[in-house]
Subunit: 385 residues, 2 copies
């Protein structure tokens, strides 16, 4: 029998009424002939309230004790959702991270999943129960049953890891938006819903701040070939499908332990043009890059640094053979900028030819500090020897 993993976020289980609605949706999925494993977050603002409570005790709570505290939020949700399912005649059982056997690193508050033990889940699923699993939490490998939490994106990560471990047909992420949008609809009302997106595109979007799906979850989905759906828990709209490639066979041990860095790319065919002391007003950058675009000059990286006062430095890189042309445009624009009413100092153009662009790629860097430092350190070593 095919299995679906469904994940419901905090808003989706934010009240007894919402939990009832979620239980109806689960029962509907069971009626369609699926086994269902469900992963839930803590109800609504529970986690925020627990964090606040800890802050009232001490501004710097111990991370192990924070995990002990925060993991209760999901435990409340799984108990209530299981009760709701049972009350409607659907056999169900709630399981904590420890009970499932979601084994993680011993890194409190940001543990990565090492392994999801499928045996107990299978046993309950095969006996006709819906299993309701606490997201965001796991235990360490030791006999001490130390409780860990997964950090940001934790419940998404739990859900996809479960789906991978169980070989689920797909993993459905229910949330309070209709799916993956082209941008944040609260800022840009014209944002469009995407029907489909590849895992790699999603990974890029997620890394750049799209909050609907955490890149950790997308990476597991991609690595293990788990099709993902992002859906609204408030409607039956079709949502967004995240397309995954057929995966290479891969061990389920060390599930979330991937290379931090997939590749380091090096490009020395770059030059930099900097405009210093540009008035800090909306529209200036658009004017500059509009003119550069009209001159058919392809801009690569753009860096804007902030000064105190009313001006910025805007720098951009182009391939070396366009550097002269780009410089000319910048020089032509500088006097215009000087005439701006808010200009306090003279805008000035600087050109730097001896630069290179180094790109470090890899979703494994997310949430792991120090990677950039390591890379810089290595390049320095190379300079020295």
């Amino acid at each position: 029998m095919a299995l679906i993993v469904q994940k419901y976020g905090g808003t989706s289980v934010g009240s007894p009424d919402r939990i009832q609605a979620v239980s109806d949706r689960i029962i509907e999925t069971v009626r369609q002939g699926y086994q269902v494993a469900v992963v839930v977050s803590a109800m609504g603002k529970t986690t925020d309230n627990l964090v606040k409570l800890a802050q009232e005790i001490t501004p710097a709570p111990n991370r192990r004790e924070m995990d002990m505290l925060l993991s209760t939020g999901e435990q409340v949700s799984i108990a209530l959702l299981s009760m709701a399912l049972q009350a409607k005649g659907q056999p169900a059982i709630s399981l904590t991270g420890a009970q499932v056997g979601i084994v993680t690193e011993a890194e409190h508050s940001r543990a990565r999943i090492l392994q999801v033990k499928p045996d107990r889940l299978r046993r309950h699923l095969d006996s006709g129960q819906v299993v309701v699993v606490a997201g965001f939490q796991g235990i360490t490998h030791s006999d001490d049953l130390e409780i860990t939490t997964l950090g940001r994106g934790g419940s998404d990560t739990s859900a996809v890891a479960l789906a991978a471990a169980l070989g689920a047909e797909r993993c459905e992420i229910y949330t309070d938006v209709p799916g993956i949008l082209t941008t944040d609809p609260r800022l840009v009302p014209q944002a469009q819903l995407l029907e489909e997106i590849t895992a790699n595109e999603m990974l890029e979007l997620a890394s750049l701040g799209a909050k609907v799906l955490h890149p950790r979850a997308v990476e597991i989905a991609r690595n293990y070939g788990v099709p993902l759906m992002v859906l609204s828990s408030w409607s039956d709209a079709p949502g967004t499908k995240v397309l995954v490639p057929t995966p290479q066979p891969r061990s389920l041990d060390g599930l979330e332990i991937t290379k931090a860095v997939d590749a380091v790319e090096f490009d020395s065919d770059q030059g930099k043009v900097a405009l210093l002391r540009v008035p800090d007003r909306p529209g200036i950058a658009a004017q500059l890059f509009g003119e550069i675009g009209r001159q058919q000059v392809d801009v690569d990286l753009i860096i804007q640094s902030i000064h105190e006062g009313n001006s910025n430095d805007i720098a951009f890189t182009v391939v070396k053979n366009l550097l002269k042309q780009a410089e000319a445009v910048a020089e032509a624009i500088a006097p215009v900028l000087r005439s701006q009413p808010t200009a306090v100092e003279e805008a000035e153009v600087l050109v730097e030819k001896r630069i290179a662009k180094i790109a470090i790629a890899g979703a494994g860097m997310i949430g792991r500090p120090g990677i950039a430092a390591n890379c810089c350190d290595l390049s320095r070593s190379r300079d020295q020897y």
Copy 2:
């Protein structure tokens, strides 16, 4: 180094401020040279609120899921108290029932403790940490880490069981009253604080409804010779000491599994006098038993049954050779009762000579329904064979 187990109830840890005060008291105990293991309840009204939440989902929640839900309350308390201790420089660690190894029966919502594993507790205590243990909860013996709760008096029971398992010097129960009082001070302002009480007297008081200490906890204290102190968490007053006998050597396995019934006592030297249709007014019973007392008749059991309307039946037993005398008093009083303004029917005296009194003794009956039924059933069998 001597060890003290301290237990703090829900009111004592009801707010961040109260948790800070509790942490100060614990640190003071450590300064006095003790190792300290602490057992805490859920904060204030947490358990009530969780029960309410479950009731909003379904009027008849599954007991396993209730245990999953309710056990989060204590988990929040232990995390916060540990943070408070750590913030003051006192090494501390919180442990759930599962992490300690408080092994119980698989009876959800009313499990008895089978065993408290002392190894992990000892390890943390010997490394200089205060261990903060979640009261009221345990796990079953299976590998499934099923969470159980202990039911009424659960946290007191956890604390005394811990003290027994660790061979603690004493177990201090901190509560919101100054100690054991002779009666409920909300009803009887003259209630007196007891400086000392024996475990057996306490057991009797507790069985009869005194709520400060649960009889389960007192029974463990008595069986394993754990001195108990009942103290106010709001003051430094000396509280009440519960004196325990030197215990018989006793295995710590099956800790709370004791005989339900210690003894069945049988007394056929009894007779019953019943006054039927006594006006239901305060003072009537005092008048009746006052007169009986003046006649030097020792009354044993008193049973008052309620009729619809304005009258009661009052029955009492005496030893057989006083039956005539007791009947005479009752007959003398009956006309007085008939003259009461609220008398609606005639008071009447009945005497029953062929009765026996059976007393079933044993704290193990508490919380275990069906014992009386079993006893009745056995005696019926005896009639039949």
